[in-house]
Symmetry: C2
Subunit: 490 residues, 2 copies
């Protein structure tokens, strides 16, 4: 794979001087066009052999383009803020929004390859890592991110020559560190493993470009031209069509479904409720403050039809929590900033840190519920979302976060009763809008979307808890019970 970058490509300095200003101008123009159109972000991943000119190239890009609309991130080893967070969390925080260019210098590839080279991970774990990367990049591409990946390569003798040259002058000796020599020692292994990584992650949607890195003139102009051509190609807006996926499940023939199978008659009297609630809140408070939970985040998700009682149930939970360690995130239509990012981005931002709890009042499931039903997302987008969501939750679970999901289920009759009540009680009136009535008309479509969602996203590590919520008291107690159970199991 790397043979084509070991043949001694080079360019004269004169040629570089002649071509560099033209390339620079073209890149700048493409950058402004990107900014004006604002249709997609560019993610440039810079990786490769130590000393093959990665850093120099990143610096050049910074110099060539308008730094206000370009941001380079140099990722090292995960820091304290990344502890207990999913592996991909810090990269999500750095994703460029539409119209902007983000450069990842060091990226999801670095850790995977270096850990494997140093024997910290086995072959199977490495394979899983590459699979995770492929899925993430596929999703980013499908969301419209232009992913451009540059791999800078030099040979082992070139690496040695460079280190010796650096070491021979006082001015540059600091750059030929013991660590750099360690990379030299590991060269062959690194080359093998990188070759696997580059091959396995060179997908049609996000291919690698391998650049011979020894000659600075050749390397710089080549890197610039690849970025330029990728941007121009996308700006010109060619969109391939895909064969359409099979459509979603049709509603079951007998009209029966899992929501209808719940026991909506379940009820609690006020005295029963008061007694149980007090006991459960105490239990929850103790469980959350236990030693086992100190280093773990909790991510609780509440979904349900309008007026199902999500808000009031959440309040019964938060009363048992320490205000310093929890946040409730009400999820409405995305903001402008959020719309400039892949749809999961706004949830990645709010992934709890260790020892903290995030409660989502509505969540990423909007993609397969309201966005599906209202047609805000294409079928292609919401069909692939089930798997993307499962992967997002798996990433959280892997990093030790407890994911607990509740569907608050009410019958259409009960919803109507509550809507009417809200209209009548002055201080509740703000809670009922024309939109609620519109949504209500779509009940069968929502119901189907909910059943599909439960079927496709109820997983071992994050199962759906279906709560019959026609009786609010019963529902609150059951949610608390399930939450306490989940924490105790974890």
């Amino acid at each position: 794979m790397f043979e084509t970058a070991e043949i001694g490509h080079k360019l004269s300095k004169e040629r570089y001087k002649r071509e560099e200003p033209k390339l620079r101008q073209a890149l700048l123009e493409a950058q402004y066009q990107l900014l004006e159109k604002g249709k997609f972000p560019v993610l440039l991943i810079v990786s490769g052999v130590e000393g093959a000119g990665k850093g120099e190239t990143v610096n050049l890009f910074n110099e060539w383009m308008d730094p206000r609309h370009l941001r380079a991130f140099a990722f090292g080893k995960p820091g304290p803020a990344d502890k207990g967070r999913p592996v991909m969390w810090r990269y999500w925080q750095a994703l460029p929004p539409k119209g902007k260019i983000g450069i990842f210098f060091g990226s999801w590839y670095t850790d995977a390859i270096v850990d494997r080279t140093r024997g910290k991970t086995g072959k199977a774990a490495f394979g899983r890592e590459l699979d995770r990367i492929r899925r993430l990049e596929r999703m980013l591409s499908a969301e419209g991110v232009l992913v451009v990946k540059l791999w800078f390569h030099i040979t082992k003798p070139q690496m040695k020559k460079r280190l010796k040259k650096l070491g021979s002058s006082k001015l540059t000796a600091w750059r030929a560190t013991a660590n750099e020599w360690k990379y030299y020692k590991d060269y062959d292994k690194f080359r093998d493993i990188s070759e696997d990584a580059v091959r396995e992650t060179s997908t049609g949607a996000a291919p690698w470009h391998v650049i011979e890195g020894y000659d600075p003139q050749y390397r710089s102009l080549t890197a610039g031209r690849i970025l330029l051509s990728a941007m121009k190609h996308r700006l010109e807006g060619e969109m391939p069509t895909l064969p359409s996926p099979a459509p979603p499940a049709t509603p079951p023939l007998d009209g029966h479904n899992i929501l209808k199978s719940l026991d909506y008659a379940a009820k609690l009297t006020r005295p029963q409720y008061d007694k149980k609630l007090d006991a459960l809140q105490a239990e929850l408070a103790y469980a959350m403050r236990s030693k086992a939970m100190r280093d773990r985040g909790v991510c609780a998700v509440f979904e349900g039809m309008d007026a199902a009682g999500k808000g009031s149930t959440i309040r019964r939970i938060t009363r048992a929590l320490d205000a310093r360690y929890y946040r409730v995130i009400p999820v409405a239509a995305p903001t402008e900033e959020e719309r400039a990012q892949p749809y999961l981005w706004r949830f990645w931002r709010n992934v709890p840190q260790p020892g903290h709890t995030t409660i989502f009042d509505r969540s990423w499931y909007g993609r397969v519920l309201v966005e599906r039903v209202e047609g805000f997302a294409t079928q292609f987008a919401w069909m692939r979302a089930y798997q993307e969501i499962n992967e997002f939750e798996a990433e959280m679970a892997e990093s030790g976060i407890l994911v607990v999901k509740f569907w608050m289920a009410v019958t259409p009759e009960e919803q109507l009763k509550r809507f009417k009540q809200r209209k009548e009680i002055a201080y509740k009136r703000y809670k009922i809008t024309a939109e609620d009535w519109r949504n209500r008309k779509q009940w069968p479509k929502y119901e189907q979307a909910v059943c599909d969602m439960i079927e496709r996203t109820s997983t071992d590590m994050a199962p759906w808890n279906l709560i019959a919520a026609n009786d609010k008291l019963h529902a609150r107690v059951e949610v608390l019970e399930r939450l306490v159970q989940a924490i105790k199991r974890a």
Copy 2:
């Protein structure tokens, strides 16, 4: 995941009698429309719990639709013909062509899940298996195959009830075998593992549909409706657009490339050649007949510009082989039968069996060479082909097949000389056509395509051997040398 199929769906027999004829008619109509339009094949995968009605449903489909255009394959354990062949080989043989419906009863899922349930494979191997399946299905979908996956589910008590019922009558007791009871014993494990498999392979392009299988009326109509709606949806021809991938690499700035770096001056005199050829053919003959090669297939691929000497080199190889055990496959434009299948299908057909050699005179690389340059394949198609090809070759290598690839490189000047010679010598004239002259004009484009191909598909398990072929004698000897080396290493 399976909770939604454990709620007791059922339909009355009256309703079934009323709806079955309508469904049947609609399915038949869709089948004929599929046949007439002939734009895509339908692959129906039927899997699930033992006794949940898989076989019955397959029989029904056979009854409902026109059996001339539908074919069901029941895959059991791999048989003798599958030995030493890649795992996916037998499935490729059974893929339906455009316009037809193929039903896989037992499929790539069965082995993966059963082996894992019985502890024959570990977690990591199972994960790799699912990844392989995902990639295959993604490729099939991208090639236009409509993949519909039905999972039939029953609960453990339902399974027991069924087995007891079967056992209680002499007429049906033969169906409640020890093997079936073994499935019952393994139910919980099977359910866990299946749930993982279904979740991880429920992609946007090829989602699973889970069907509650206990009630025959509900099960049959539901399965039929899912297939019908999938077919109608695709027949109506909705095609989602995808953000465009980054474009291919631009040719290197300094005009240098790996083809130009070969030593085209290498030459052999006739006496040198004769001596070496004899020795190498003998060596090859012995090596191919060695014990180590008895159970291994060899797949040799020859690619090169027109008139590079592929044919004459292949003849020097086949002279050393036993005619019973080798085949040369000349690859030209695909036949009608081949065009009705994914592009790799015609090569899967010719994967060598153990102890046999297949020599491809041109190959699957046409996708990223002529099809790319001439625009027969879209950019989306050839960009993803690199990875698909690497995976195809990896599948062969994994099953023990030795994959050896040669690029016969000539300079444009040498090609011109040979073209002119061919024109002049009567018995060679048939070898030179207007097309050859047309291709020659595209030399720079082909050269770029070849360099990209080498960069992206030269892998550890199947590296490209680049042969400077301006001197035919030198080229033949070098090919034989490399081939003998590759066999000796293997």
